[in-house]
Symmetry: C2
Subunit: 622 residues, 2 copies
């Protein structure tokens, strides 16, 4: 591809209505394009507030991505800072962070000239120029700290080669070009030095609630920890509230990250300990250490949770998270996940979470409710599945009994599975008709579990149903994966944050064990196999001994879609609401939500498939 | 929508590279458009050979559609003759011929001006202008016989509101506008006078084989029949070959339609009778008459078949269909399906089929082989299903035994189901990997079963597998539909025409009856139901007594996808090839054919969403 000039102009005549229309549309587009370009390049630099979200892409902090989301335009504007540019860079997205079948913006140099283009990688990692250019370059700027690239991408491009930017997790990928490149086709991404970063690109567009005047702050931070020189560390630190600390409402919290460690602090949580014990020992060390006091396992009530890429978390104006006061433990546990795959040594860290709280209690206490599946082995996933789904129900009968007549308001949600989880979605259903999605993540990763503010608060009334479906991948496993607490067992949970707080803490289900027993019997008879159905054999053992084939798999699927359920409609994990909760009918859905058909970009619209030449001079200064 | 002028022109300057590109692309497009327009309008009329395929749309013959297919352009060109235009016309396509959710070209008049546009109807029949105009008007021309409209449509437009034109049956629909219309939105198609016509739009692009010099013709036609004044008549007429007529090869055949009856003659077939009887009685009357001799049921060997919209049928140069000579019956049965829903009275008809045959035998006899499912009740469809599939197999073991080492060549195919059939597809698989589609009709209708030439001849070798899948709709039924000969029972058959002829006449399968028995047992135990499994109860009775729910349905589906099969690898319907054909393993597929991703039109490309004004004068001359 030769270099092109872009400023020639010669007269022509517009021959018809349609050309005039095309032309006028095009002028609008060029105008919009120029305005953005000017905004971006006029001042010395774009203001930080133009790109409120920021995340490091690599572990050395050489690549820094900031972005903003325009819901009216249905587009994301990216600002990528490249601190040490070599011969170019790939940046893009793929379903689960693989370099193959990815959608990529590419900046490349042949040693003399630089180009920018929209490309995609095939199943073998080979790059191809996209026939429709949907990463739109808005500007490029040299600054002392590095090169800034500004570009735009519509959520949905209707190009089948493009990634569809959806709510929830997006797997961002980057790759470094270390040699001059003469054409895009010369690049195989699988061979590049690069990496992956998970973020929630489509941050909800919510206004910040008004904060109380008497707001105070409290930092729960690690006391100058030396980050262990190993890939993964969960660090535990015990903090405590002052004696006699009365009831307060947490109204917001934000991360406190030690400068320089932005790429190492993966996620952090503050847990409150149970009030069942009067005191908890001090501790400051790895969570999996043999030295860790066993009692720390009783500190599991989430007060705050942050993950990389997340910002401050605000409670709605009507509610706050209660802490302090009688019946509440003074003891807090800070847990930090350090992700250190380059095994840096001797890095010191004092990161943590800053709580903003008030003594002027808001009208409502916020609560957390667990939706999804009971932690029981009766819910199992056959081995070798690429996307097997399990569904947990919060039934109309339970919400009828436990929710106040005015309903509750869900404002945030944290999705949770173990390692096989690939997608989680909770849908609200009323009278058998699906009403709205509470929270959905089609690219969910168990390595990126953040509390997410919902785009809109969801009102749930008595008689409503909340249906949570998790999708699992067990292609790398040779035996069934059963439900349970173990890391190789599975969970399907949505922790929803809501107000006003109710007694309902758990609204989850599992298949009726009697029907599961019939299934084991059926598999036994149908396949002429000897599966021991003796009562002394546990459910996991029975699952492990099933000879998996399409029939046994399909029938298990059918069983989960048909058999009655056992409900946990509980005040706490041990105390059920009164009522009959066994052999409950499966909620039936008569009307499903329709998949939103992606909006295609009307304008500026995609650009022709030619690389855009850039005036950057030589990229690498050797 | 106001009227627009289309010939103004004013100077402008082209400001950038991209506009120049857009403009140049546009000029190419306009040029192509003008050329077509000129071709279409220059002579007094387009030549008939420009539009080789023709079909009446309505039953009075007021609307006549001709078309051609351009595979290089991936587009269909339509010429629609409207003999008595009122205030406009709708023409389009929908999945199964419904007026709702249809893709329509609309010609409408407000009483003064006329417009043409691409529209779609929603689930309620309401018309909407399409945001992407994919029916492209190429010209309109008044002639003594009526108004000709010429327009073009790409097979695939990538507009989700548009119908994807695929191989196989296309349901064309039309509607008449009997009053002036002020805007598209004022039209509700469900209320219009209109109708449906099924055609194979994408005729294969095959060259006509060379015909022998000594070719003779023979017409098998109805002897001046008075078409009964009832909607549906199957007419039977017995013809016979001369005594001592030696073996010949049929090399082609074509329809002979009495002028004026083009819309009434729905389909015709010529069958040869069995050689088991020396003579057959004469007959000329309805096929379902009590007077019809029972022996006519032994005339079932297809010699020729034609359906509305089909053209002449040619055998490949290497092969012909044998008839005449020893071991072959002299008696032929012509069957004509008259479709007369307007119950015209006293229409006389002498339609039929003209056979072209030669005494100079070609290298190979052509043969017909039955693929799909055995006619047995063990293959059943639950009630209330919108698309339940059943699959019949021709296994590697059978083709290994029965096909010659050089293989056979399939050149034509006729798909067959009873009334619940909605789609049929046969795929060729080799070593577990799907190789190619033999014939597919995703919009199959049991009312439109024609013999279709394949786009390309398919070579099948010993060890190959032929897998035929039928999709059924039983939403209007309350009990199971079992396999069988009855009109309310089902079949799944692909009659493939091939050469050289082999002994293999039937290569079909059904689920192993023992496994079906286990299924009945399982349903019984699992559902606590009393289904009589006594041996004296027939398989249909057992199916009829199943309490259908999602579990019983899903498990039946799983059974058909898992259980071993019983193979019919037969020389004739009663004589099997030697070998073990019971409890055969299901062919496994390790690599599926990928769905072809539809090509979007690169150019001329869609036009902006404005109606095109036409200079037709007032449409209706009252």
């Amino acid at each position: 591809a030769g270099r092109m000039q872009s400023s020639r102009s010669k007269p022509c005549s517009c021959p018809s209505l349609k050309l005039r229309e095309v032309a006028s549309m095009y002028f609008t587009m060029v105008a919009a394009f120029l305005v953005i370009l000017v905004v971006a390049l006029q001042g010395s630099a774009p203001r930080e507030s133009d790109f409120p979200y920021k995340v490091p892409l690599d572990l050395q902090g050489l690549l820094e991505l900031s972005w903003n989301v325009s819901y009216p335009e249905q587009a994301v504007h990216f600002q990528l800072l490249i601190r040490e540019l070599q011969f170019g860079l790939l940046f893009g997205m793929s379903d689960r962070g693989k370099f193959e079948n990815a959608d990529l913006a590419v900046l490349w140099s042949d040693g003399h000239n630089s180009y920018f283009g929209d490309a995609w990688s095939d199943a073998k990692g080979q790059l191809h120029m996209d026939s429709q250019q949907d990463y739109q370059l808005l500007g490029a700027r040299r600054a002392p700290e590095g090169l800034y690239l500004l570009f735009r991408r519509a959520f949905s491009t209707c190009d089948p080669k493009d990634y569809l930017i959806e709510d929830g997790t997006v797997h961002l990928i980057y790759g470094i070009l270390e040699k001059p490149v003469h054409s895009l086709h010369a690049i195989n991404v699988s061979a590049l030095h690069g990496g992956l970063q998970r973020v929630q690109l489509l941050k909800p567009n919510i206004s910040i609630p008004e904060l109380p005047r008497d707001m105070k702050t409290m930092e729960i931070t690690a006391p100058d920890v030396v980050i262990p020189s190993q890939e993964t560390t969960y660090w535990c630190y015990m903090a405590e509230l002052p004696e006699g600390f009365p009831k307060h409402h947490i109204v917001m919290y934000e991360p406190v990250i030690t400068v320089g460690n932005e790429a190492l602090v993966h996620h952090m949580e503050v847990f409150q300990c149970t009030a069942d014990f009067d005191s908890f020992p001090h501790y400051n060390g790895p969570c999996d250490s043999k030295m860790k006091p066993e009692r720390l396992n009783y500190c599991r009530h989430v007060l705050a949770a942050w993950a990389m890429g997340a910002q401050a978390f605000y409670y709605p104006e009507e509610a706050g998270l209660a802490f302090g006061g009688p019946g509440s433990s003074r003891y807090l546990r800070l847990e930090i996940h350090y992700h250190n795959p380059l095994v840096f040594k001797g890095r010191r860290d004092s990161s943590g979470i800053r709580l903003f709280y008030t003594a002027t209690l808001r009208p409502h206490d916020a609560g957390i409710m667990e939706l999804g599946l009971v932690y029981t082995p009766v819910m199992a996933i056959p081995p070798g599945e690429d996307s097997f789904t399990l569904t947990g129900y919060c039934t109309d009968k339970c919400t009828q009994l436990a929710l106040p007549p005015a309903g509750i308001h869900i404002f945030a949600s944290q999705l949770h599975t173990h390692l096989a989880g690939r997608a989680v979605v909770t849908v609200l259903s009323r009278d058998g008709r699906e009403q709205q999605v509470v929270n959905a993540d089609r690219h969910y990763s168990p390595h990126f579990q953040e509390i997410r503010m919902l785009k809109e608060v969801v009102a749930v009334f008595p008689g409503d149903e909340l249906i949570t479906t998790c999708t699992y991948n067990t292609e790398d496993r040779s035996r069934a994966t059963v439900g349970g607490f173990g890391i190789l067992e599975e969970m399907c949970v949505n922790y929803v944050h809501y107000y006003p707080q109710t007694q309902l803490e758990l609204c989850k289900s599992a298949v009726d064990p009697g029907y599961l027993h019939r299934y084991f019997n059926l598999v036994n008879r149908f396949n002429d196999e000897e599966i021991c159905m003796c009562p002394q054999v546990s459910v996991p053992q029975q699952f492990y001994s099933i000879p998996w084939n399409t029939f046994n798999r399909d029938v298990l699927k059918s069983l989960y879609g048909f058999a009655p359920i056992s409900m946990h409609c509980n005040k706490s994990s041990a105390v059920r609401f009164p009522g009959q909760w066994e052999k409950q009918p499966l909620p039936s859905i008569t009307e499903r939500l329709r998949e939103p058909s992606p909006r295609c970009p009307p304008s500026p619209g995609p650009q022709p498939a030619v690389p855009v030449p850039l005036q950057l001079g030589q990229l690498r200064r050797d």
